[in-house]
Assembly symmetry: C2
Homo-oligomer: 416 residues x 2
């Protein structure tokens, strides 16, 4: 039996516990949705005030050089590169995950058009975050050269699905709903064995699990900065491309920020020779500037320590649910095996939607994903063992008290 006292002891021994002080979290809330929108780093407000009052208000256009707005996409990219196992000059922060996926799919297909024009399949998962599928659909329809999106139903189907016809594979490193974590290295090898290219969507893994994009031999990666990285609502996304593709870098959203010499004001587009070629238009400087505040906190520790605590917390969550909520029709969706688990835990429950609303009313913020999935994000930077204890106690109360029966919790609204 795990007890509250035991959780308290773990908190006291937790070397990451002090990092919580660097976040502003509302009183009385246990925030288990950092995998949807990360919490507010305390230094974000000060940083925003400086960007607004000084960089914008006083220095005005001079800030393009003086405050380094011009280099912000690569500076932030270099700052977060260690979190994903990328090298310097290999990452940009820009635009949105959806747009960045469009760019790297276009690049991958362009490479394959030259190397293996007969390959026409873009492979992804039915259970991808839908926008990934939508962007591939938009891409294929627009290109109109017979590229077909093929979907697999579960990770186990991947091996058979990648064939000589596969041009590119787009996978979520961690599944947004189940929390399933792919073994990046072995997938890269599997995909490359068929001369296909692999694109990783890191939205639910960046800042949550360690990874070695470059060393593992991945081709492209995109991901968002506002979930585990705590960059702020809708903060610009990241994009990584393996430097071995450098000579083949290409993407069709060729705006001025990706130009080799943008201030020549030439009428001809000449792409930057490096990762900047994935930039397009002028970026939202204020939202982008705050990305640094979240990443700064990560750089005070390392991804291995974060991973250890993440696994300890998700293990604890699963064990406590099984200990406290047995017989409650909960089905664990997330893999038990550490090798295949990201940093959130999902349970299916027939009344999952209403149960999550009841939990939120109690100050435990999880979220809901169709169908019937209650999702609990575990962010080691600002969550402790007692938080997990109390969250499960609330879940127990909701389920035992059938709080999901209350009408007010059953009304469907927008979820994100």
């Amino acid at each position: 039996m795990i007890t509250l006292e035991q959780c308290q002891a773990w908190d006291q021994a937790d070397e990451l516990a002090g990092l919580r002080q660097q976040f502003d979290l509302p009183e009385g809330t246990i925030y288990l949705d950092g995998n949807s929108l990360g919490a507010l780093p305390r230094n974000a407000l000060v940083r925003a005030q400086d960007v607004i009052s000084r960089e914008w208000g006083v220095d005005l256009i001079n800030s393009w050089n003086k405050a380094g707005w011009w280099d912000l996409p690569t500076r932030l990219g270099d700052q977060l590169a260690p979190l994903v196992g990328a090298g310097e000059g290999e990452v940009v922060v820009t635009d949105t995950t959806s747009l960045n996926l469009f760019k790297v799919v276009a690049n991958a297909v362009r490479i394959q058009q030259r190397r293996h024009p007969e390959k026409k399949i873009i492979l992804a998962e039915r259970d991808s975050f839908p926008t990934d599928l939508y962007m591939i659909q938009g891409f294929s329809e627009f290109l109109d050269q017979g590229y077909v999106l093929q979907l697999i139903d579960q990770p186990e189907d991947l091996e058979k699905a990648v064939t000589g016809d596969t041009a590119a594979v787009v996978l979520s490193h961690v599944n947004y709903r189940s929390g399933y974590l792919y073994d990046m290295q072995s997938v890269n090898e599997l995909v490359h064995a068929q001369d296909a290219l692999i694109i990783w969507d890191l939205c639910h893994s960046i800042g949550a699990v360690p990874m070695s994009l470059k060393e593992s031999g991945a081709d492209f990666a995109i991901g968002c900065t506002y979930k585990y990285l705590n960059g702020g609502p809708g903060s610009p996304a990241m994009l990584w491309a393996h430097p071995r593709h450098r000579a083949d870098f290409w993407q069709p959203l060729s705006g001025w920020w990706g130009h080799a010499r943008p201030f020549d004001m030439s009428t001809e587009y000449t792409a930057d020779a490096g990762i900047r070629s994935f930039l397009c238009g002028t970026q939202p400087i204020l939202s982008m500037s705050l990305v640094a505040c979240g990443v700064d906190i990560f750089l005070q520790t390392d991804m291995q320590k974060i991973r250890r605590k993440s696994l300890a917390l998700t293990d604890l969550f699963i064990q406590l649910v099984e200990q406290e909520c047995s017989g409650q029709d909960l089905e664990l969706v997330t893999p038990r095996d550490h090798k295949y688990r990201g940093s959130h835990v999902s349970f299916r429950h027939p009344q999952g939607y209403a149960a999550i609303q009841a939990l939120i009313a109690r100050g435990v913020i999880g979220d809901y994903r169709e169908p019937e999935v209650m999702r609990f994000g575990v962010t080691p930077l600002y969550l402790g063992y007692r938080d997990i204890w109390h969250a499960v106690q609330h879940l127990k109360a909701v389920l035992h008290g059938r709080e999901w029966d209350q009408e007010k919790f059953r009304v469907r609204g927008q979820v994100t």
Copy 2:
């Protein structure tokens, strides 16, 4: 002879003079670059603090509904619609000007593929802001269906250049360098007479000159919110599409925010039936939220009053330069005719680059555009007649004193 006293009298009679109090401008600066980056509205800092501390920090993911993040692109679009002569539900604020141009070019070409598949020319100006040309080049290369970008050298060439082969015409409503203003209505008619579609880039006209996008019969428009609209550095761009094209709305950057029912988490993309179909990925909420602060100030007056003052100030600038700086090798690039003048004034000078640096050192912030063009943006919301007087006195001193000869002003850096 125009005197400082005369300028003072005009300031006293200026009904818009009070609006300057709603901006934070650095002391001792005359800011003539609001057409590159608009000044800071005083309420932006308070708004940012609220978005960060309350919407993000306290309400967290609940803000998607509670703070209306989800509807922000259309709410801001509706708010600025009156400034461009658009109706409710016709404008979104999202992404960047470059990306929005890609979307509307794709939509225009798609329409023409059905109506007039033989039309293969996209017409633009050699003197477009380069990113417009780059995006069209990227589009055409990617689509690979024989669409060709054809460039005209001057507005007078437009009439002959639009032919039965023209699919779409992309024009800057106000030229970023010369300040030339197209007569939107007559261009729309000229373009439509050849069954072509017209796309307006409003970057240098939105918030500067009145326009009637819908009534004049334009097809599409895109533009930025960080110049005359004062939305903040890199704040998201706007996009308008005439509702007569509604049944044909289409664009390939089909991310989840453009989906008809995004929370169904369907694997199939189904575009929203309206202007939201031009949305793509998750937007930078903080940068986007501040767009309202700039637009709020416009809504306290109207575009006709702003236009009258703008013309009075640009007239004054031209007259004072001719009165104070005669014989100084300055060539007016901007049209004298009000009908063809935007809200900035440009002069060519052989030492234009260094002269602008010398002016900036004196606290007069203009900017430089290749080749040899000194550009002075006139923003009626926060500039007065005395500002123009003093700016020209500084210009006179720079030119008479040959300050552009100083080495420190001749070093080329990045300009934006």
